[in-house]
Symmetry: C2
Subunit: 102 residues, 2 copies
DNA sequence: TAATATGGTAAGTTTGCACTTACGGTAAGT
DNA sequence: ACTTACCGTAAGTGCAAACTTACCATATTA
């Protein structure tokens, strides 16, 4: 399974997107992430595991707190995946436009 | 709901990713897309609707066939979303590295 | 050492969603 | 006009996954 696949699967869930966006600016502990999310802390832990396996976040322990921050690896994998569709989509579009003219 | 949200939701499903990749190089009719996918044609139709609403594909009729091709709009929306995490993730990482030194 | 705070995991429940079959609708061919 | 091919939608089903509660482990503080 590709990293990008895990990435799209991870960000396919709205709660995980909310978590991802919450740690966008600065690393946050799990308790802080949970606040205002509307789900229990164990649920957050399970989501974090999926985000971690998709290389979208990294976790580093500091005392009893586990700080989560954005990981570039997963993001880059997803960007590369989307980039591969970029050129081909353009050429395909041009082909159709050509066809219509005739 | 943002276009990028719909995009991640759409590509979060493996069958929809398979469809998306199948029309990567050239537009395909629904029947052709269905071949070798392992799901029924109605299932494909339902997936196509979701991909269309996420601006990831466009559909144009030609006789009785409905040709599907990649749409740049949805892709661009997702790329923009990921780009917004790019810089901030870097600065956040630097902040943590600074903190560790002290 | 006792108490508190943080958080991961196990087990069970529920709900959303990906799938199916059945049907109708349109366009092209004979 | 009849048949065939292509396709979307409606309705119902089954399962994966997102949630819950309960429990345990670890690290800090008093």
């Amino acid at each position: 399974m590709r990293t990008s696949d895990k990435g799209f699967n991870a960000l396919g869930d709205p709660t995980r997107r909310a978590i991802f966006e919450k740690i966008r600016n600065r690393p946050l502990a799990v308790v802080e992430i949970t606040k205002g999310l509307g789900v229990s802390r164990p649920a957050v832990s399970q989501h974090l595991k999926i985000l971690r396996e998709a290389r979208l976040i990294t976790v580093h322990q500091q005392g009893t707190k586990n700080f989560c921050q954005v990981d570039q690896q997963g993001i880059q994998a997803m960007k590369n995946y989307l980039d591969n569709f970029w050129d081909t989509a353009l050429t395909a579009y041009k082909l159709v436009a050509e066809k219509k003219k005739r």
